[in-house]
């Protein structure tokens, strides 16, 4: 069965620092990859997704992620974080079967002023 690993469970950064959150998946076939964000008290929202084509994907709010097939990775990056980026971030993979996404355990990001 496929799985998703997010190695950073809690990350604390100062405003303007650069962000990189790791995501690795285990599945040898075709995958579609996602990053979701959950702001405090809000619903899960899609940040970005990779289906095919350019492995460097740009999403909302200045986030981007790079799909590296050889490393089974889909790391999330942002050059300069803001206090409003404080949230929980989830990586997810789709390998087929209805609308079933397999999520990682999430990374809690706190951005300090």
């Amino acid at each position: 069965a496929q799985s998703v690993s997010q190695h950073n469970h809690h990350v604390i950064l100062s405003e303007a620092a650069s962000l990189e959150l790791g995501c690795n998946y285990s599945y040898g076939g075709t995958v579609n990859l996602f990053w979701y964000v959950q702001y405090p008290g809000q619903h899960l929202q899609l940040l970005l997704k990779y289906f095919s084509g350019d492995p460097l994907v740009k999403g909302i709010k200045g986030f981007e992620a790079e799909f590296i097939k050889s490393k089974f990775s889909f790391n999330l990056r942002k050059p300069s974080v803001q206090w409003s980026d404080t949230a929980e971030y989830f990586c997810a993979v789709y390998t087929g079967g209805g609308n079933k996404l397999t999520f990682g355990t999430g990374t809690q990001l706190k951005v300090e002023l």
Partner: protein, 116 residues
């Protein structure tokens, strides 16, 4: 436009009881998926329904069941509640099923179930 709405937002039950959670998808969306999010974990897929037919089922016991109505709203039922069923239950809707649908999932704010 209204997003995905779920009810109730919070509820407390005792072990052995039964619970019904409800979800109204975004207008025009024909697919509803249910996920369980235990504290400290990512969401875990329970069911997906599309056009009132079950299209996917996760690794959950038979105590969990769901259905979709002609208006595309959905119910998740859990029987014989256990302490471990305490979680946030998320509903997600999409226009389509499969790869086309999963790329455009919209989540509700969830129903937080506490089992005592």
């Amino acid at each position: 436009d209204a997003g995905v709405t779920q009810s109730p937002t919070h509820l407390i039950k005792t072990r052995g009881q039964h619970v019904t959670l409800r979800c109204s998808p975004i207008s025009g969306h024909k697919s509803v998926s249910w996920y369980q999010q235990v504290l400290g974990q990512g969401p875990q897929f329970i069911f997906q329904y599309y056009e009132k037919e079950e299209r996917g089922r996760g690794n959950f016991p038979d105590r969990f069941s769901a259905r979709q109505f002609p208006n595309y709203s959905s119910e998740l039922n859990v029987n014989a509640l256990l302490l471990g069923d305490s979680a946030l239950y998320l509903c997600a809707s999409s226009l389509a099923s499969g790869r086309a649908g999963v790329g455009e999932l919209f989540f509700g704010e969830g129903s937080r179930l506490t089992v005592l």
